[in-house]
């Protein structure tokens, strides 16, 4: 969202973070949660040996 930021750079469009960065952070979180899920099922008793 480009808004006038009286404290930021003169051109507000320079102060916008790319949506790719947000997607990368979300993807990292999803992958980490998936790894924790794999850890859960791999080591639960009777899980995949």
């Amino acid at each position: 969202v480009a808004v006038a930021d009286p404290l930021g750079p003169e051109r507000p469009e320079d102060d916008v973070m790319s949506i790719g960065v947000y997607l990368a952070v979300c993807a990292f979180a999803v992958v980490f949660i998936a790894l924790l899920w794999l850890l859960t099922v791999r080591f639960e008793l009777g899980g995949t040996a």
Binding site: V3, P9, F28, F43, E44, L45
Partner: protein, 598 residues
């Protein structure tokens, strides 16, 4: 009956610990030269780099209760608690995209200033008051809870540790303002991480002599310590049960009773973290200190990436300490104070002494049987058939459960003898006991400094944000709107001193009342959903005006209060309920009392 061991805190540890305190306070006070007006005192003249603000965001959230309590929780229930943080990365992305630009549209110093621009002075004052009330209770607890553990570890009275943390934090925060808070947080975060790495190294080094990594994980998994993601909740009954009186049989479990699972973490956690990072002045103030919006976003995204892995590692450390106790030094009671209570009671009361001795003997047997079961599994080797390995792990799980049941029994016996309050345990004493028993001099001093650092890094942010909200939203807004910057700064420093003194005195009064911590958590969850709902109205409902937002805010708090009194719903969901209630009431009211755009 055996009691607590001799305290191993040496002169070297005291030197390391004292050097850390001097370093932090001296640097914090030095930062005061940057604070010539409220912009400097509350926003660091908007010159704080993203990495410093980012580490401060993490340090503020990582209180000493996190370091001590989370490792204890990892020891007792494994990785389950990590689910509480699953909503955090997504919440921070939303805060970066939606709220950061909002807070930077004008050079505001309090998150609630924005609400006045959007709605009016009533909503701003009510939201700021809601924040002050919740944060001021939490501040007292942030000082009290770790002080109990630190006092036990150092062998000094609780009042001494409360006064040390309270006074030192107040001194550097009063003089240095938010710059002192942020740069001391950076040092404190470094010490916290250093302390955790040391503990991790020690426990791994000791454990790898007994088991290899996969065997260790298999033993932890068998004991239920690696259940990090619960995809299927305990119950799929979505109709919440009514609360029952104490003593009445509990109603059947529902979906809303299950405290931590993937869904409560992702949905309830998302709302909680959105409210914490987006509407709580102690975190919003970090967004206001950076030179550009993108610097603020980078500061927040640091937490979005690092927080869940960090919590998982801290919980894993607790679980590894449990495994370490399987092989070495399993105590019936952790924590010198509780050990001494049991020893004194046993000396005075023969009936309790007999019961305690019986439990002690059975605990020693259970520990030996658990160790034998663990060794039986590791001796099987990788070539054994899966059925044989599973049977061995099942035997280990039974022995582990038996040992845990006996440890619970000792607290039941102490509760029945009225030696400790109801629902006591030693979860928060496991980590302190472990470091006292196992860390060499200097490293022990470093880890004690890390616990102090965690306490101070949360307390200083609470103190500065309480002062900011009081000065900006009340003093400057209502009492002295035309005061000079010099006068405002003097008032801010005086108020900071008063808040620090008040919280320290409050923490001294808390002593002994363990249920206060639960009360504070409950109060916190009443407020957060309401605050988030009010900001959601501002962002997404352009028709909502002055009175619809104000009544919506009050309705949100009332709804959470009624739900808490009548239904059995775990507290993470209160954040969702509060938000939805504010949005529904505010949104519907806007139809009959639309925004006055004139």
């Amino acid at each position: 009956v055996s009691g607590g061991d001799e305290r191993p805190v040496t002169v070297l540890d005291w030197i390391v610990f004292a050097a850390f305190l001097v370093w932090v306070v001296q640097d914090g006070v030095r930062r005061g030269k940057d604070s010539k007006d409220l912009e400097g005192y509350f926003a660091g003249n908007r010159r704080i780099p993203w990495w410093a603000a980012g580490l401060s965001v993490m340090a503020t959230q990582a209180s000493a209760i996190t370091v001590i309590g989370t490792t204890g929780q990892g020891h007792e229930t494994g990785l389950e608690f990590v689910q509480f943080y699953f909503g955090l990365p997504f919440a921070l992305v939303l805060v970066c995209a939606l709220l950061v630009p909002l807070f930077r549209q004008a050079p505001i110093l309090s998150a609630y200033e924005y609400l006045e621009r959007r709605f009016g002075p009533e909503t701003r004052a009510a939201a700021s008051l809601v924040f002050l009330l919740g944060r001021c209770f939490a501040f007292g607890v942030v000082l009290y809870a770790p002080s109990v553990m630190l006092a036990e570890m150092l062998g000094v009275p609780i009042s001494a540790t409360i006064l040390t943390v309270g006074a030192l934090t107040t001194i550097y925060t009063v003089f240095g303002g938010v710059s002192a808070v942020i740069y001391t947080d950076v040092k404190q975060m470094a010490v916290i991480l250093g302390g955790l790495v040391v503990c991790f190294g020690v426990v791994l080094w000791r454990l790898l002599g007994e088991v290899d990594v996969v065997q260790g994980l298999e033993l932890l998994g068998a004991a239920g310590k690696l259940e990090a993601v619960e995809t299927v909740p305990d119950s799929l009954d979505f109709v919440p049960a009514l609360r029952v009186e104490d003593g009445d049989p509990p109603p059947p479990r529902t979906f809303w009773d299950d405290k931590y699972n993937l869904w409560s973490g992702l949905i309830g956690g998302l709302f909680l973290q959105l409210a914490y990072f987006g509407c709580d002045q102690s975190q919003v103030q970090r967004i206001l200190t950076n030179p550009t919006a993108n610097e603020s976003r980078k500061a927040l995204l640091l937490s979005a990436i690092a927080k869940v892995p960090m919590q998982a590692v801290i919980l894993l450390l607790g679980a590894l300490i449990w495994l370490f106790h399987v092989y070495d030094d399993a105590r019936l009671i952790n924590g010198t104070a509780q050990q001494e209570i049991a020893v004194r009671a046993a000396a005075a009361d023969p009936v309790f002494a007999a019961r305690y001795r019986d439990i002690e003997v059975r605990h020693a047997e259970a520990v030996a049987e658990r160790l034998a079961a663990a060794r039986a599994f590791t001796e099987l080797g990788d070539d054994a058939a899966k059925d044989e390995r599973d049977a061995s792990l099942r035997a280990f799980r039974e022995r582990a459960a038996a040992e845990r049941a006996i440890r619970r029994e000792v607290f039941r016996a102490m509760e029945e003898a009225e030696l400790v309050p109801a629902n006591s345990g030693d979860t928060n004493r496991i980590f302190p006991q472990f470091i006292l028993d196992n860390l060499p001099p200097v490293l022990l001093g470093l880890v004690i400094a890390a616990i102090f650092a965690a306490a101070m890094s949360s307390a200083d942010s609470a103190l500065n944000s309480l002062t900011a909200a009081t000065i900006v939203d009340f003093y400057k807004r209502w009492l002295r709107p035309h005061a000079s910057e010099r006068e405002n700064l003097r008032a801010a420093k005086l108020l900071s001193l008063l808040w620090g003194t008040f919280a320290t005195l409050f923490a001294l009064q808390v002593s002994g009342a363990s249920s206060v911590i639960e009360l504070v958590n409950e109060i916190g969850s009443y407020f957060y959903g309401t605050l988030l709902g009010t900001f959601a109205l501002a962002l997404f409902f352009p028709r909502v005006g002055r009175w619809a937002s104000f009544i919506g805010l009050l309705a949100g708090m009332a709804t959470v209060l009624v739900v808490d009194r009548t239904l059995r719903i775990e507290y993470l969901w209160y954040n969702v309920i509060g938000t939805v209630a504010v949005v529904l009431v505010g949104g519907l009211l806007s139809i009959v009392m639309p925004r006055d755009r004139s």
